[in-house]
């Protein structure tokens, strides 16, 4: 644990002592709705041995108390509006097949439990690594005979949020070996590649400088276990690929497209750095 996180944890305790029992304790324990504990801090997976990071933290740890609190209660979490929208789409027939997701997959709380935790994942019949969003769109075009959702837009993010919610609390566990390995290696290379006029790689901020400030922003480890996230500044959901676009743009580079194979590889690699953290369903970040 880095010094600053430790310090803020201590001051959070001191504050909560001052405030008495006024507010739910915020800082290092993420409990949703008073009954579901999520893992926001755990040992780094084995493949990160040479990164110098021993402990991985959810992005939730780095946000301020108000934002943290919003995620601790489903009523206060605006992302749940999109989960409801996703649930509605799940049950609505689409395309030439006139079938809904539910017609094949039934009750999502059973059929989709654990799905978010293992994506991006190798798809044998397609011969590629697919992100969850790609899989959703494959289902739409191949099974439902419907038009693919547009990447980066609300509909696909809402569907991902709904599916993600069914795995809330389960540990992220993406496979990085076997057929997915070459994609994972590609993602790793991207993670350490410097982009843009500012010549920043993902690692420059999220590996070497997490817990420091970049101007006014508290740098996290760039974990994506909480995605899709409800971003308060956008007042809507953002997917991990959508966030990558924003990050690369901020280095003053031309970014890859939101649905590019590069970002699928990066998503797999970044997800694997969070193996062991809880899927947060839909998280709240600023």
């Amino acid at each position: 644990m880095t010094r600053k996180i430790l310090k803020s944890a201590i001051s959070a305790v001191a504050l909560s002592l001052l405030a008495g029992a006024a507010a739910a304790e915020v800082g290092d324990q993420l409990q949703v709705n008073g009954d579901l504990d999520l893992v926001v801090e755990t040992a780094a997976p084995a493949h990160m041995a040479d990164t110098g990071i021993r402990t991985i933290y959810s992005g939730w740890v780095f946000r301020d108390a108000d934002t943290q609190a919003m995620q601790m209660d489903d009523f206060d979490n605006p992302g749940l509006l999109y989960v409801d929208q996703g649930a509605e789409m799940w049950a609505t027939p689409a395309g030439t097949s006139e079938k809904s997701c539910a017609d094949c997959h039934g009750d999502a709380s059973e059929s989709m439990a654990g799905v978010r935790a293992v994506y991006p994942k190798w798809n044998e019949s397609a011969g590629e690594v697919r992100s969850l969003q790609m899989q959703i769109n494959a289902c739409r075009t191949e099974q439902q005979g419907a038009e693919a959702f547009k990447y980066g837009k609300d509909e696909i993010n809402a569907m991902e949020a709904f599916i993600s919610m069914q795995s809330r609390g389960m540990p992220v566990n993406v496979a990085i070996d076997g057929p997915a390995q070459s994609t994972w290696e590609q993602g790793k290379e991207l993670y350490y590649s410097r982009f843009g006029q500012l010549e920043l790689s993902c690692a420059s901020c999220h590996e070497q400088n997490y817990d420091n400030y970049i101007r006014a922003d508290h740098l996290s480890q760039g974990q994506i276990n909480g995605f899709p996230v409800y971003r308060l500044k956008d007042t809507k959901l953002t997917s991990s690929a959508g966030r990558f676009v924003g990050c690369v743009r901020d280095t003053r580079a031309e970014t890859f497209k939101v649905d590019s194979p590069e970002f699928v590889a990066l998503e797999l690699y970044v997800a694997s750095r969070g193996n062991g953290l809880s899927v947060e369903g839909v998280s709240v970040r600023h």
Binding site: F75, D76, P78, L81, D84, Q85, T235
Partner: protein, 109 residues
């Protein structure tokens, strides 16, 4: 009519007589301010929730006028005294004339 408008309310199921309870409400709504322009430079017409009320057994608890500067998905948290068992009625008024309501019962024990 604005799309995907769904009211949500959280009220405790029971309270002791005279207790002050906390109520949370949220309605999903775009709250289009009427100040923005679309891609072609045309003004996007204003579409907001302009009034929100809460009544308890016919007696008004809160009556709010909302203005265009209020952001998407307006959220209210407020307190109410519960003198007796009864029903809270929540009403949202949309610019387009739509009225959305929700009710919650509370017991006193």
């Amino acid at each position: 009519m604005a799309d995907n408008v769904t009211p949500r309310v959280r009220v405790p199921k029971s309270a002791s007589a005279g207790e002050v309870i906390s109520i949370k409400t949220l309605i999903s709504h775009i709250m289009e301010s009427g100040q923005r322009k679309d891609g072609d430079g045309n003004l996007i017409p204003r579409s907001i929730i302009n009034r929100f009320t809460c009544d308890f057994n016919g007696q008004n608890v809160i009556d709010v006028t909302l203005e265009p500067a209020i952001s998407t998905n307006p959220y209210f948290e407020f307190q109410s005294t519960v003198p007796e068992a009864g029903t809270f009625t929540f009403t949202w008024y949309d610019d387009d004339g739509s009225v959305y309501t929700d009710t919650k019962d509370i017991t006193v024990g």
